[in-house]
Symmetry: C2
Subunit: 428 residues, 2 copies
């Protein structure tokens, strides 16, 4: 095929693919987002506990200093720092314990971590650095003013932004918001995505299949990928290879959900049922069909009634890769997240050569592990895009550009991780 | 202090800390796990959708080949490969379309992706590589036997392990299990962790604090960290600085939960209330108290009635780091996960020097981002372990060993990530 391309020019490349034209991933996303206005604006108020993994809808501003008062950072005695001048393990200073609200010269008042610093004191000596003798303490450390004190506003100053809008809320963000005394936050509503599978050969899990039927797995995979992202999903079931059945189910989805993802019924020629159904339903319909990528080449992107429709191949691996490339950035935008990109990536060294075809971005599955502080990526060979075990053996994928025929042994590439990276003893 | 250590020997190091003895993290975990038998054995059966992020309790064995039959990997025509010998764009071969169940010499039968391969055929020519003319097709590609066919058992062979016990189930694992026709799986029960905060100065969120009160945030942070791990949490509320109140609440927790995490009331001397309460409740009680680490030095680990109790400092940052170091590996074991280690880590280059104290493992917070394919780690300065914003400004932490006084600018270290890593355009 490489020869044909060079020899006969672009026309044959086109003809070989069976599509009028293959569009680059970047070009396809650009055309798609250009027709869409999916930035999330609907907001809902939830308790902090419910806010975990939600996207914050507005800047959280500190209404008070944090801490609200000068606070002891340790268990010990509040003192005047100057009274400890010259104290050491060889030369203790003796201070008088007081119960009064004010600490005077050569006095010390017991404080626990978090306690307000009494007036007159400007440092706290830790219990570890004193010995109590009756109503006195011996101090064997020289303190500097402010030592072991959390100053008022030291963490966050009143009026400052504590957590920015569009932050993906993790436990430490919730902790900071709670410390400010805020117990409810406004987060973006979860977008709802309707998922439809198509294909006469498909049978629901739990049903005894006929000899030539296969279990439908894409809705489960796609809906759990939605779960992971914090997106709600709506199951539209399985449609037959019938334009009217498909169109009816997609119409129902458009009424109930913010976006639709379909699998199957998208390739070339007679089986191209989903794009046909979508074009029947409304405008502008299919925007791009046929992507310069492998797998997932037959992916199509459509817009109807202002709502996005992502038309994925029925092959499970193509569907998963198609989700990563097209659905993930869309859903992140719909969630209101500032993270517009793919998954986290690590730079990893490839253990052996990988061959890919020119003219398409190729998504190669890898298993990445750490060895001597380096990331090592083992390519997972898989002949077809229907080999689901190629995904379970891998924990990430790398992208080989269109203008390359593969990756060399020892080359370093970015591997996007879709599963846990095992951390080895040596790295802990 | 470094001088004191070298000059006066170990005794002074000990005395300075206020603990009889500081134990290394590794030593503490060893002593702790030695007294525990927390390997998860309780199993529950759930639907595949509910199994997301659960830990698989048993090997999933394929009861049938996947695919169950030779299947077309593309839309096209099933043929005998030898009949296409020599076909090319310059020399088409013509085959007769058949509707019969068997493909004979120079015949072709239409198949869609996923269809059973008809008898007699051993390859599928893609629609892109043919032209249909009436009841015939012109083929312009030479096929090899098996081409575009997913062979029976190619994905998983009957009797083989499809997904191993103890796997953390992600969407792609669920997809593979579903493809085998399995619709329910046995996963480990979620362990239940009771969480107690202690401290007279603490006030519940939503309540107007007195001048010297602070909002209790640790239970929220710890319970959402449990949520992230897939562990159930039980809220034991806030106990006063009173041994009986603390002991009563811990006893209740021991009845209802599999493990307990407390915060506050653990340091040295008079405020050491939680270890005291735990030792009153039962044997063996506190196993280790005082860890050679910063922050979280006052952490204690205890076992009562065979159940683990992790006694964390009340400072929010210490509590979070203590959770990472002690609770995370415990909970992973209790979940039944094979992942016994900390979070995922990346090797990152430090932008500026960081100073730490000798004799303790120091947990330094960093913000990591990618630049020109490299991970860059910016240290987040924070004076005290009560500065929660040091966690929200960071997305990971690195560990400086006991025998070092810091990290050098430009040095590469493993940073454990507790928040999203932003992926930049250049890496996609």
């Amino acid at each position: 095929m490489y020869f044909a391309v060079l020899f006969m020019g672009a026309y044959f490349l086109v003809r070989l693919k069976g599509f009028q034209k293959l569009t680059s991933i970047e070009g396809a996303l650009h055309l798609f987002f250009d027709k869409l206005d999916v930035e999330q604006t609907r907001v809902v108020t939830v308790s902090l506990h419910e806010a975990l993994n939600r996207i914050l809808a507005e800047d959280m501003i500190a209404e008070e200093d944090l801490p609200r008062f000068d606070r002891s950072a340790v268990d010990g005695y509040a003192v005047k720092a100057e009274n400890t001048s010259g104290a050491s393990q060889f030369r203790q200073k003796t201070l008088q314990i007081t119960d009064k609200r004010i600490v005077n010269d050569n006095q010390a008042k017991q404080v626990w971590t978090g306690n307000c610093i009494p007036g007159g004191a400007d440092a706290v000596v830790m219990l570890e650095n004193i010995k109590r003798i009756g109503s006195k303490i011996e101090v064997w450390a020289t303190l500097t003013p402010g030592e072991n004190i959390s100053k008022k506003g030291e963490d966050i100053q009143k009026g400052k932004v504590a957590v920015k809008a569009k932050t993906h809320l993790k436990p430490h963000h919730l902790g900071l918001i709670a410390a400010l005394g805020i117990d409810k936050v406004r987060v973006f509503e979860k977008p709802k995505i309707a998922i439809l599978a198509t294909g006469n050969e498909l049978v629901e899990l739990g049903i005894k299949p006929l000899k030539n039927q296969i279990f439908e797995v894409n809705r489960l995979v796609l809906s759990t990928l939605c779960d992971e992202l914090g997106v709600e999903s709506l199951d539209l079931g399985i449609a037959k290879d019938d334009v009217n059945d498909i169109a009816g189910k997609i119409k129902f989805g458009l009424e109930k959900a913010d976006a639709i993802i379909t699998t199957g019924g998208t390739s070339v020629g007679a089986a191209d049922l989903v794009p046909e159904a979508v074009n029947k339903i409304g405008k502008p319909g299919v925007i791009v069909h046929g992507i310069a990528m492998r797998p997932a080449m037959p992916t199509a992107l459509a817009v109807v009634e202002g709502k996005p429709i992502i038309i994925l191949s029925g092959n499970p691996v193509s569907a998963m890769i198609g989700f990563e490339v097209f659905a993930r950035p869309l859903l992140q935008r719909m969630l209101g997240s500032k993270q517009k990109k793919l998954r986290s990536a690590v730079k990893a060294k490839i253990t052996r050569r990988v061959t890919t075809a020119l003219g398409r971005k190729t998504f190669v599955r890898f298993h990445v592990h750490q060895h001597n502080g380096e990331f090592i990526a083992e390519p997972i060979s898989a002949r077809g895009s229907s080999v689901i075990s190629s995904m379970t053996k891998a924990n990430g994928y790398a992208v080989v550009p269109e203008n390359r025929e593969g990756l060399e042994e020892g080359e370093c590439v970015s591997v996007f991780l879709f599963d846990d990276l095992e951390v080895t003893d040596e790295d802990v």
